[in-house]
């Protein structure tokens, strides 16, 4: 099949860019926004590295059981024989690193750190993505409604957004999670905590998306092409879904990719403060908070989860910056 010279307008807003056909001719060719962005992103080596790390982390999170069975360790198996009974820190240097335990073991319990890091990635990635999804859904719906209909609806939604942005968020997140019962809606322990964290982080995140969507819709709805659609007899639903939303895909994509690392940091902070997932489920923030007691005697225990958070958040930020530059050529970076 030959490379298409023309792409239908419905494809102009495809967020997932398809790979460019090899050997495409350099002459004038209709290119979709997704294609243009992908071509730009391909030239941005740093962003690509960030993207590759993100992909690797997502895969590691999905296939965590496979990875731990490959290294022959499980996240909750205790190895007390590897712990120095006098100081309760791991025997050997660098936190007990060895051929069996590549990143060493935890103080006291002797659980394998690599296995716990891999399982901790599941929590971070899951909460990071799903809470961003919650924020995007609420933010897009309310932002579009506020921008398109204006009037009192806009006033109410905008006030709510302003108020949420000025809320002491971490405080409310901790308070909310602390009063949640152990089991609800058929979930128990960690399941409840995960769900509440996703909802709370998503709930405090939607105004960021909502404000951007509202601003975009506000300016888009005055454009001629919307007027043209309206004069051709298009209904509100059609205009919003077929004319407005495709134009919002780019800004929403950018802010979502930049929101995920923030959410991962929030999840880690909540776990650090003891209101994240419940032990023995592993999470990076919780490992760091356990490591506080050992920062003098077993610094590796603190460094490994810290570096894991750092690499993850950095990769998402690099990738997000790249996506922004690719989708927004006017950007000043």
């Amino acid at each position: 099949m030959t490379a298409p010279l023309h792409e239908s307008s419905a494809d102009t807003a495809v967020a997932e860019p398809e790979p460019a056909p090899s050997g495409a001719k350099k002459d004038i060719e209709g290119r979709s926004l997704g294609r243009i962005a992908w071509e730009r992103l391909k030239r941005d080596k740093v962003a690509l590295i960030g993207g590759a790390v993100v992909l690797f982390l997502v895969l590691a999170a999905i296939f965590a059981p496979l990875i731990t069975s490959l290294i022959g360790q499980s996240p909750n198996e205790r190895h007390e024989d590897l712990i120095d009974p006098l100081f309760s820190t791991p025997k050997g240097s660098f936190g007990g690193m060895s051929g069996d335990h590549l990143l060493g073991v935890e103080p006291v319990s002797g659980r394998d750190i690599l296995a716990r890091i891999v399982y901790g990635a599941r929590v971070s990635i899951l909460v990071g993505f799903l809470s961003a999804f919650v924020a995007v859904v609420i933010g897009t719906i309310l932002g579009t409604l506020a921008g398109y209909f204006g009037g009192w609806l806009d006033t109410v939604i905008s006030r709510i957004m302003d108020m949420l942005l000025a809320f002491p968020q971490l405080l409310f997140a901790i308070s909310l999670i602390s009063v949640m019962p152990n089991d609800m809606l058929g979930l128990t322990g960690t399941g409840v905590r995960l769900m509440v964290m996703i909802l709370v982080i998503g709930f405090f995140g939607w105004p960021y998306i909502g404000r951007i969507v509202r601003g975009q819709v506000l300016s888009l709805r005055e454009r001629e092409y919307i007027e043209a659609a309206r004069s051709l007899g298009a209904g509100r639903r059609y205009i919003i879904r077929r004319e407005l939303l495709p134009n919002l895909v780019a800004p929403i994509t950018v802010y979502t990719t930049l929101m995920i690392p923030t959410n991962i940091l929030t999840e880690a902070a909540l776990s650090f403060l003891g209101v994240g997932v419940k032990p023995p489920t592993a999470s990076w923030g919780q490992m760091l908070s356990n490591a506080v007691e050992y920062y003098e005697s077993d610094p590796m225990y603190m460094i490994i989860p810290g570096v894991a958070i750092f690499i993850t958040v950095l990769a998402f930020n690099l990738f997000g910056d790249g996506v922004r530059d690719a989708l927004d050529p006017k950007g000043t970076r």
Binding site: F167, P168, F272, L273, G306
Partner: protein, 332 residues
């Protein structure tokens, strides 16, 4: 101007009422919906029936939530009386009630801890403004050079590092290995030198994170501003470059920085939870984390209110300052 102020103050009042309502809902309504008895929650699961009943009486948990709310507001403005066990105690305004756990009055706890948090936030803010603005401006003016790349790489690392991790690394290296600074908090009144030594690492940790954000914003804004027509005009009329940058470009660059500063300083009043936990600083953040774990509602309400008030007042001041910095902004 006056109508603007009145409107803003009204919005502030609404905001504070909503926040109090939200806290009440979290600790009274949600446990009700999910089937946990608030009185049991405050006393603990092991407590016997009488203890739970006593708490219910003392906290007036059987009163409708609106009555409880009214009592709470009354306490803040005119003080309120508590009746329990045959005696009546008067708590004078501003009364935030008594801690469920220690039975101390809340207001003195808040006024004890506020200066600690304030010194943490303000000291860090001075540092991060200097670092953030300097790095941001240099990166923007020397765009594409090694300085720009170094600055922006550092800034990206700064926003990607959790503050408690930076804090722990700093503690391990500078307080434990090199023994240069103190690893614990000393009140200013006890020993100003020790206080300073103990505050350096918390300040640096906070400043690294926020300085990184400010550097990114400053650079982006500066680049945008330098492309504006009025900068070209300023250059065309023969102004020297330092004047163009210092006087003309800086003014516009300050606007978003100021917005952020208002939000961040306000939020830090109660949001320095992570920093205060990492460095064991007895500020409001540490108090509120303990209060949340102990379900000490009056203390949580007190800190939340202080934080929210700080946020809205900081935002109000920032909005008023806009008019000074940017002549295009008219407050109406």
């Amino acid at each position: 101007m006056l109508t603007y102020l009145i409107r803003r103050l009204f919005a502030v009042a609404v905001m504070l009422v909503v926040i109090i309502l939200a806290v009440f809902c979290i600790f009274f309504l949600i446990p009700k919906w999910t089937g946990t008895d608030p009185a049991t929650m405050f006393v603990g699961k092991q407590a016997d029936k009488e203890a739970i009943e006593a708490v219910r009486q003392k906290l007036q948990l059987d009163d409708p939530i609106l009555v409880q709310l009214f009592e709470f507001f009354k306490g803040i403005f005119v003080g309120r009386d508590y009746t329990g066990g045959g005696t009546t105690t008067h708590c004078s305004a501003p009364c935030f009630g008594y801690s469920f756990r220690t039975e101390q009055e809340i207001w003195p706890i808040l006024t004890d801890r506020l200066p600690v948090t304030l010194s943490l936030a303000v000291g860090a803010a001075v540092l991060w403004l200097i670092i953030g603005l300097a790095v941001g401006i240099v990166s923007a003016l020397k765009r594409g050079t090694i300085w720009d790349r170094l600055g922006m790489t550092g800034a990206l690392a700064g926003v990607s590092l959790p503050i408690y991790f930076t804090g722990l690394i700093l503690l391990a290296v500078f307080a434990y290995q090199l023994d240069l600074v103190s690893n614990k908090f000393t009140p200013f009144g006890d020993n100003p030198g020790e206080w300073f030594s103990g505050m350096i690492l918390p300040w640096i940790s906070l400043a690294f994170l926020f300085g990184a954000m400010y550097a990114r914003i400053t650079r982006a804004t500066m680049l945008e501003v330098m492309g504006e027509d009025y900068i070209r005009t300023a250059r065309a009329k023969g102004l020297r470059e330092p004047v163009v940058i210092g006087k003309h470009a800086m003014r516009s660059t300050m606007t978003p920085v100021l917005t952020l500063l208002g939000i961040d300083l306000g939020a830090l009043m109660g949001g320095a939870i992570l920093t205060e936990t990492t460095f064991s600083i007895p500020g409001l953040g540490q108090a509120v984390l303990k209060a949340i774990n102990e379900k000490d509602l009056p203390l949580i309400l007190g800190v939340t209110l202080i934080t929210a008030t700080a946020v809205v007042i900081a935002n109000l001041i920032v909005d008023l300052l806009y008019g000074v910095i940017d002549p295009r902004v008219r407050l109406a």
